[in-house]
Symmetry: C2
Subunit: 650 residues, 2 copies
């Protein structure tokens, strides 16, 4: 006896989405279309059919979705998930003898061949279906017998090839002949905020209206209407915990802090508490909860910073010395990257024998703040903690709180950033900050949106952060700030700004470093929140454009168009369901007016090229009549470095 | 208790070679280098190490091969297999505390820092290794204590970072901290013929020296010295079995055969026997075995055609009617592609309930001819038989006879051709026959050699077959025959010709079809084997060049060079072990002289660009002095459409 797959003839391969062979779920967002696809084929010339089966979160039943043949053995079906949580899907394919027969019958009939024996063959196929059918037995037997004794051949052919018969016959398959793809795959469907969010970062300690005073949560409550009016829906704070006093850093990261230096918020913990405590000068837990509540009423979620590291005077160091590395001289091991030393920070030792208690405690920090109302966490330097810890922690948290989102703050090598995303991070910082030229931007967007990364890595674009002042902002001033803002906000549906500094166009570097001098990380700032800035006005405008145009609320729909000038980048985004189509053209040269012919990538967007249409610039309000694919743009960076056109069809 | 991966910190991903997640073995050839690689990384800044472990065919032990860091978390090691059969490999990675420490020590020492405590830390790491070491205990304890009490810091640093200590310390890892890639993967190592072979196809029935006589195996024995002299090492015959008499096809595939029409050898079986019988006019089994033996003495292997299909009078139809499809009118189902009919051929029904006996019988056909001495099978139309049958059959045969090779004769859609190769076929026909332009050829070669296909699909390039006379040969005459021959023979290490027709440059099509008129498939031909032809001379020459230049004995080493003229294609192949470097330039225009500047892709070949070198054209014998990367070629297709340069370095 040969022990093998017998009469199975269909092969199913290259099933998508599938992350690392199904080791991780693919990511999707509620109400956002995702394509299930596979290459499916059989030997020989027989017709095949294929179905995807999906099971919803907490569902019991599998729903069958017949797949569509696309091209070259590729089959696909679109799914628009309407629940958050883990969907499952599997795929089956089979040789479809009814379909083979009915197509052959049609051709033979059209070629004028004698089809009497053919009709008998079909009658037998339908009769076999009747024999196993409980619901359609009578109907099938009727069809079968009307084919054996047809009134006339034309009617028989019409019946045999009718949609009605095809629909019923779709369900009858010889079980031993069905090929099931061996894995059941998972799709993690997240709430819309995972896919579309607009972040504003500020240091609450700099929120006071009074110069020289330490800001408080209450001060931030006063700023919420301003943040909302600018169109942000996530307000992100650096850590809010007590700051280490031992080895505290002074202004500009100096080794010695003056008595009035507040220290870096990322040096977490002192005698007043650690990761579950609040810096006393910011306010109380009650104030914090009130802030979260007030923000919510304005459509803003608070994102909290989780930095799993300790100042030397963090309570953990005494209560859980086994979580740190100790040196032969009895001192604790600081963070270092030889020969550099970071003496205000102690890393956790993830190789401790007590790793289980360490993991539990770290997770309890997140749980604590979720209980306080936090729904989004920005995780500091996740790439310096065990990948398996993240996989476990995020998985456990989201089992109970599927609405909670984690942003990975890793700016490191590609494989590491990818793996953190696979481990469960819902959003990730990116290399956008350093992608400047047309080819760099196109290549990076293609990697993010047209490769498997699209299924696990959800980018969040930041033109700046408290740690990063890139050369383009240093050199290009206000023009560059506006250009990089518009790019971030239109390339990626998730983007964010380290706020006040960006609004004011502050761009003085710390010597030769790509960092802000007099960095807010080490000192309290005072901002004049009421001052008008042009950058602020454009932030408000671009965020409104994002809100009003669904095409900008997903990252995956981008298509680039050719341009006759490398200083001009052009891309289009379409939301086919609502008919919303945007065309963006940006002048990447921050000093000179540039012009180009740009080609609108209608075909790649899945749209028939328009012959004659109006493009309405949502930034300037101007309208132009455009024709066909190639059109002309000219952009002066001192006026406005970009067009964000909405296409108004004629 | 958290049940998870604990202190493991290393991630291993994108392991290569790996075909469909390890579902199929990767293919390699004996003595041909294959790279084992993976992306391997850890969180944080610690150093890591990684090893591949390999087990040879029938071996018991795993051999550890330390992997080398390449770039961006990519690690690799080359393996040159020296046995045929299934190798297994797996990969492990771990955080290497010794390496982290010794590199940090070096940097701190160079920065003038106090390293006393550092030396104590290292002494501890080495002492821990000593505690678990059986073979190096004494040595490790000695090193450890000499670091605790160093005579002077410089000596201690030198010892700590020495190759000797590093080599010993490589073997000590905390078992719980080692990450093992979860799959053990397989590599099927085949004999050299799988990777490098030169095929000549002839119909033995046309081998007679006497016009009008049916050729015999004995006649073919007489031709063997000619085939060997031309440089072929595989002689391939269409089927040699009795030919069906019922519905036999006449000349030019006509529906009615005359009494003296021999029929198509692919319509297998009549009352005299089936797939295990020999056509009586060809000779006896004894003659056939003698032919195999004589061929072997000349370095030629016989490739037999296996076509799993039956003429209507094949003995199986009566003895095993359950293996065929029967129609309601009592007739047997012919092959068809509605409305076309193929009445001289009955396909097997792979959905028969008796599939196990069918599979056994089909395999027994191969076994029968292996017993007769056949070592290579060319399988006709494998894409019309169940994929799982091939997987089983080839797997079972090669378990016992790993030297036996199977060539898949499928010219169909990409996924199907790929899957047959994955299922075990050792070589495959390709789309080469229809790839004509520079971009078509470069794109196709890149697909074959620079993607995962390289690990499962071994191409065999045929400029023509009895079924296929492509337009380039119809239109381009002798010039095209020479050009397409040189391309096939230098692009692919496996290539073949449907011989006599090619040598004579016969290229008259059957009407508008891309087929030979008066096709040898349906009639016996007479060839004047002694006639000189220019094509024959160049075949002999190019085959000798292939034999003398190891760079042409693998397909994977191809690198294309830019050219200033799309009518000229240029590529180079290097065998780095022997220092053999060939540069090929071909004029794709069969009617006009073309010239181009061509860029030798030294960098892609892994060779430092040569400044000043001699290129020796192995076709014409001419030599040129070339400089640097860009050089000039001019090719007249009426003289010789190609240069095949051997680089002779100065």
């Amino acid at each position: 006896m040969i022990n093998y797959k017998g009469i199975q003839r269909v092969i199913i391969t290259y099933v998508s989405p599938q992350v690392d062979n199904g080791q991780f779920p693919a990511k999707a967002a509620i109400n956002e279309s995702i394509t299930l696809s596979a290459d499916i084929f059989s030997d020989g010339h027989d017709e095949i059919s294929a179905s995807a089966f999906i099971k919803k979160p907490n569902g019991e039943e599998w729903t069958e979705l017949p797949m569509n043949f696309v091209i070259n053995d590729h089959w696909a079906i679109n799914l628009i998930p309407d629940q958050i949580g883990f969907y499952e899907f599997r795929i089956e394919g089979w040789v479809d003898h009814y379909k083979t027969w009915s197509k052959g019958l049609q051709k033979k009939y059209e070629a004028g061949q004698d089809i009497r024996v053919e009709l008998q063959i079909g009658a037998k196929i339908i009769e076999q279906a009747a024999n196993v059918s409980t619901t359609n037995n009578t109907k099938l037997l009727e069809w079968s017998s009307s084919l054996i004794n047809p009134a006339n051949p034309a009617d028989a052919v019409q019946l045999a090839t009718s949609d009605e018969v095809a629909a019923v016959m779709y369900h009858y398959r010889h079980p031993a002949a069905v090929t099931s793809y061996p894995s059941t795959l998972k799709i993690e469907v997240e709430r819309k905020k995972a896919a579309y969010s607009t972040w504003y970062e500020l240091f609450p300690r700099s929120a006071s209206p009074d110069p020289g005073k330490h800001g408080t949560f209450k001060d931030v409550i006063g700023l919420l209407p301003r943040v909302a009016k600018m169109g942000f829906d996530v307000l992100y704070f650096p850590p809010i915990h007590p700051i280490g006093e031992k080895n505290r850093k002074g202004k500009n990261n100096s080794l010695t802090a003056g008595a009035d230096n507040p220290g870096s918020p990322w040096a977490i913990g002192n005698r007043k508490g650690g990761h579950k405590a609040i810096h006393p000068q910011l306010g109380t837990l009650k104030d914090f909860k009130l802030l979260i509540k007030e923000a919510k009423t304005l459509g803003i979620e608070l994102a909290m910073d989780i930095a799993y590291q300790c100042a030397p005077d963090h309570p953990y160091v005494k209560s859980h010395p086994q979580w740190f590395k100790w040196r032969p001289d009895g001192t604790v091991q600081y963070a270092e990257n030889p020969p550099k030393k970071y003496e205000d920070i102690l890393p956790f030792n993830f190789e401790t024998d007590d790793w289980q208690n360490l993991w539990s405690e770290l997770k309890s920090v997140v749980d604590y703040w979720i209980d306080a109302g936090v729904t989004i966490f920005r995780i500091d330097n996740p790439h310096t903690k065990s990948f398996f810890f993240w996989e476990w922690m995020i998985g456990e948290v989201r089992k109970v709180h599927p609405e909670v989102l984690f942003l990975a703050e890793a700016f490191t090598r590609p494989r590491i950033m990818e793996r953190l995303a696979k481990a469960g991070f819902n959003q990730s910082y990116t290399y956008y900050t350093w992608r400047n030229t047309k080819s760099e931007l196109e290549e990076y967007m293609t990697l993010l949106t047209k490769t498997d990364m699209r299924y696990y890595y959800r980018p969040n674009f930041w033109p700046n952060t408290p740690d990063i002042l890139p050369p383009v902002l240093i050199n290009g001033g206000e023009n560059a700030h506006i250009m990089r803002l518009i790019l971030a906000a239109t390339l990626s549906s998730n983007y964010g700004l380290y706020g006040p500094v960006y609004e004011y166009g502050i761009n003085k570097p710390h010597g030769a470093k790509e960092e802000y001098v007099d960095n807010e990380k080490y000192e309290i700032k005072h901002w004049n929140w009421d001052e008008y800035t042009r950058i602020g006005e454009i932030i408000t405008l671009i965020n409104r454009i994002r809100r009003q145009n669904p095409a900008l609320q997903t990252t995956w729909n981008i298509e680039f168009g050719a341009t006759s000038n490398d200083q001009i980048i052009c891309y289009a985004k379409a939301d086919l369901r609502s008919g919303n189509l945007l065309i963006v053209a940006v002048n990447l040269d921050v000093f000179h007016t540039q012009a180009a012919n740009v080609k609108i990538p209608f075909e790649k967007l899945g749209i028939k090229p328009l012959q004659n249409y109006i493009v309405h610039d949502l930034l300037s309000g101007e309208k132009y009549r455009w024709h066909n694919e190639w059109n002309y743009v000219q952009l002066n960076p001192y006026q406005m470095p970009a067009h964000v056109f909405k296409v108004e069809q004629l």
